[in-house]
């Protein structure tokens, strides 16, 4: 079974803190993604990566950065957390190849971040 794990299920931080969210996948997937999920807004892509050290901005990258030093690990960084970053954060991974089976995204359990 593909497993995507996230370092925390729940996290409470203070405004201005630097926050690290970690994601690890064990299927040797090339692609990894970070989303935030808010009620009524669906999934919004923050950043994605298609290879080690490669990253691209998604739809809402402001206030976030990412790091991918190893293929299996993709970190989301909030340099200075703000209350409007309180949200559910989902990590996902997928194969590079678009065709064939298992071309879907595999998701982690999510991290519910509260910024006070």
């Amino acid at each position: 079974d593909v497993k995507v794990t996230q370092s925390s299920r729940y996290l409470v931080k203070r405004t201005g803190e630097k926050v690290f969210l970690e994601c690890v996948q064990d299927m040797d997937h090339e692609n990894m993604f970070w989303y935030r999920q808010d009620p009524g807004l669906g999934l919004r892509l923050i950043y994605f990566s298609y290879d080690v050290k490669m990253k691209e901005k998604g739809d809402i990258p402001e206030g976030y950065s990412v790091s991918r030093e190893k293929k299996e690990r993709f970190s989301l960084i909030l340099e200075s957390a703000s209350t409007n970053q309180t949200s559910m954060y989902l990590c996902a991974s997928s194969r590079f190849l678009a065709g064939g089976p298992y071309n879907e995204q595999f998701f982690g359990p999510g991290t519910r971040l509260t910024v006070l």
């Binding site: 892509l45 990566s49 190849l97 678009a98």
Partner: protein
């Protein structure tokens, strides 16, 4: 850019009945993949069913089936014999068949399905 629209923010169904969730999308591509994902309350999002655009036959997975209308750009999910465990948020998603963009998918806003006992 592709867009995916789920016009039903909430749906409800009686246990054992059938429900259909709607999804429309917009694309200029001819080859692509469509997915339905399920996110149960406080649980991990998982794939329910996928459809290859080049296949005319509608995909089925046990009680889940799709109605794929390529010309109309419509991709609805039918859940037969609904069970309490089907209660979840359902997301429709689009992925290009090209090996580009790191396999980004475009997601709809989701439909919350309630199953009444």
């Amino acid at each position: 850019a592709q867009t995916v629209t789920q016009s039903q923010p909430e749906m409800s169904v009686q246990e054992a009945e059938t429900v259909t969730l709607s999804c429309t999308y917009d694309t200029s591509e001819s080859d692509y993949y469509l997915f339905w994902y399920k996110q149960p309350p406080s649980r991990q999002m998982i794939l329910v069913i996928r459809q290859e655009a080049y296949k005319q036959q509608n995909a089925t997975e046990n009680r889940f089936s799709v109605n794929f209308q390529k010309a109309a750009k419509s991709f609805s999910l039918k859940i037969s014999d609904s069970q309490l465990g089907d209660a979840a948020m359902y997301f429709c998603a689009y992925r290009t068949a090209l090996n580009t963009n790191a396999g980004k998918s475009t997601f709809g806003d989701g439909t919350t399905l309630t199953v009444k006992p």
